[in-house]
Point group: C2
Chain length 131, copies 2
DNA sequence: TTGACACACTTAGTTAGGCTAACTAACTTA
DNA sequence: TAAGTTAGTTAGCCTAACTAAGTGTGTCAA
């Protein structure tokens, strides 16, 4: 299956959270990296600030994220997740882990070994090449 | 790196062809599967007919694809690639193969073996699960 | 044979998520 | 303090997904 088709299936709203991939990913970075500025978040997500500005606005409107002023810099904001944001993310993560585990149970042990070895290489590439 | 970020890099126009991924992928299906109807193409690409209708219109406007009437069904169209469409696709494919080959040369033989084994499993999954 | 339904495609309108350009406000520095 | 930089937002554009509705063609049964 072409990677594009995988992309298209990813594009849909995550059943477990009701969030689109871009929002879910941004929320995840906020939950684990808070507090952080919009520029930092945009950089982490590899999009431009205006794009992230919209995504954050949507997350804020859903009550998943909140902005606070940065006391050291009146231009900047500090993003953090609300309790609801954390809850939504964790529920989604749990459900995705379960679904992946179910798929992996269909493989035999040789296949799992092959995937695991490849995962190591892919991770190394990811670190070194930012691929 | 999250899959989402990989996909975002895919989203950009392919340097070698000047086509967006959705258009390039559709063109490829047309080149190798012509003649085919819009509905067939939409199904192959896993999108709805209106979406494909627009993509085909764009490809046609660029002179990469042409529509002919289906003599057996006045409702349907038959899509095929123009010579230019074939040329554009082949040039892009050649350049992508070269770029991938260059990346693979940075791996050692153990890593290549691991990737190759995993590819077999992934392909099998793809066939069986339409993943 | 014709009326009803089914099908192929298009059109219209919405939404998400990218982008650049241009703006405001706040900080820094010469 | 004036000039320049930085953080974030707003406006406007694009692609590409969707649904709903329209047009025209095909099919089939009464």
């Amino acid at each position: 299956m072409p990677l594009l088709h995988l992309l298209r299936s990813l594009r849909r709203t995550d059943e477990a959270t009701g969030l689109s991939p871009a929002r879910l990913s941004a929320l995840s970075v906020i939950v684990f990296g808070a507090p952080l500025s919009l520029a930092d978040l945009a950089a982490a997500e590899q999009v431009r600030p205006p794009t992230m500005s919209k995504i954050v606005a949507a997350l804020e409107a859903e009550g998943l994220v909140k902005r606070s002023p940065n006391p050291n810099d009146g231009r900047a904001i500090r993003l953090s997740a609300t309790a609801k944001g954390v809850r939504v993310l964790e529920r989604g993560r749990r459900m995705r882990v379960e679904s992946l585990a179910a798929r992996l149970q269909e493989l035999d042990s040789e296949e799992i070994t092959a995937l695991s070895n490849a995962a190591g290489t892919i991770e190394r590439l990811a670190r070194e090449k930012d691929f």
